[in-house]
């Protein structure tokens, strides 16, 4: 993402932050997307927020086995490692509660 795209996206963050939701389905990724190598293996789920909105979110900070309908809270995190000279991409991730 360019810094302009990051900027445009960041405006949406406050609406998505600190919202409750539930996990619809998830998968553990062992072959990562570029930029996610350092977080591998990582889990991404399809989440439904209390607002009705559905979106894919990385799931973080969990110990126990995940289940369908697991309750989550949206939190802010770095999405992936930024390029050394690039703008940092912050985004929403899902934290089981």
């Amino acid at each position: 993402m360019t810094s302009v795209e990051i900027w445009r996206n960041s405006k949406k963050l406050s609406d998505l932050l600190n919202k409750k939701g539930r996990i619809l389905t998830w998968t553990k990724i062992t072959t990562p997307s570029q930029g996610y190598e350092s977080q591998t293996p990582y889990v991404v789920a399809l989440v439904e927020l209390e607002t009705g909105q559905k979106l894919p979110l990385q799931v973080i900070d969990f110990q126990a086995e995940l289940k369908v309908n697991q309750k989550i809270l949206t939190v802010i995190r770095r999405l992936k490692q930024p390029a050394p000279e690039g703008v940092i991409e912050y985004g929403i991730k899902a934290k089981p509660i």
Binding site: W26, T27, K28, V44, K54
Partner: protein, 374 residues
Amino acid sequence: MRVNILGVGITKFGELWEKSLADLALEAGSKALKEANLKPDQIDAVIVANMLYSKSGQDHLGALVAESLGINKASSHIEAACASGGVAIHQAINSLLSGLYQNVLVVGVEKMTDLSPSQATSALMGAASEEERQSGLTFPALYALMAKAHMDKFGTKRSQLAAVSVKNHANACLNPNAQFHFEVTPEKVLSSTMVADPLTLLDCSPISDGAAAVVLSNTPSDIFISGSAVASDSVGLSQRKSLVEIQATREASKQAFKQSGVGISDIDVLEVHDCFTIAEIMALEDLGVCPKGEGGKFVDSGKANLGGKLPTNTSGGLKGCGHPVGATGVKQLIEIYDQLRGSAIGRQVKDAKVGLTHNVGGTGATVAVHVIQR
């Protein structure tokens, strides 16, 4: 409708280090022209199907391929992710039915091995939505989400997913152009490296180079396309009505059946989009071959095998034959054509008269379905 197939041409699929995109397009295109007994100046339009070549810095593919084949008339490039081939055929059909053109050459071509594996994997995510890319999802992960939902809802088992891979690898062994010429056992599929659970490496189609070309015409020939439809759905999985079916498949096949006047029970041979094993299972359900939720059982019971009730992916599918993205939709058409004219040596479906191709873009955002008859 009746759009005639005059000639086809295809390259080997695989890691073709020594061939450039232009080389591949030329090889397939000139074979198709030769078989159609047409000279370049008799081609009114060439449509190139390709998804990823822009990443190498080259756009303007219509002109590039036209140049290599010596074609001076209309040229263009179609991109619809992995459905580029099917959609390009659909556009060619449209232009032929309009009467504006007599002969149209469709060339599907992809050159993926110039990119590193992680570059190629990331590039493929161009078929997904921005929020899917931002969440760290990969294509295998997207289909893994659908697989999980399917397994949760219908009890589909990993062994049934594996059965798709086993079958398609076995079929590929009989296809000289296929990327892979080795069989796999169910155990091998289940125990191969996990990519995104529950999908392992052997549940996933490979990265491939290759080209496939077809000359479509208003000049009559024995084998013709009788139905051609494209349908669309949301780019992202999150916005779909269901995770366990691809609605665009239902929509496109409904239209194609309507146009051709045949139904699923008339189909003798099938090429579906098995980018991942779960995709073939869902395709069989969504095309109406079996009820929703029973696709796993259908494949596992051997009904989709070469000698079975409805031979599916005799080419080896995307899994066994390879998946040079832009070429796949055209390759599927060529496989059905070969089956209908009796030239699918070693893997011939006896007396095949009606065939169907099913080509999907992304996780189901675009689906192109064609019915071919003789």
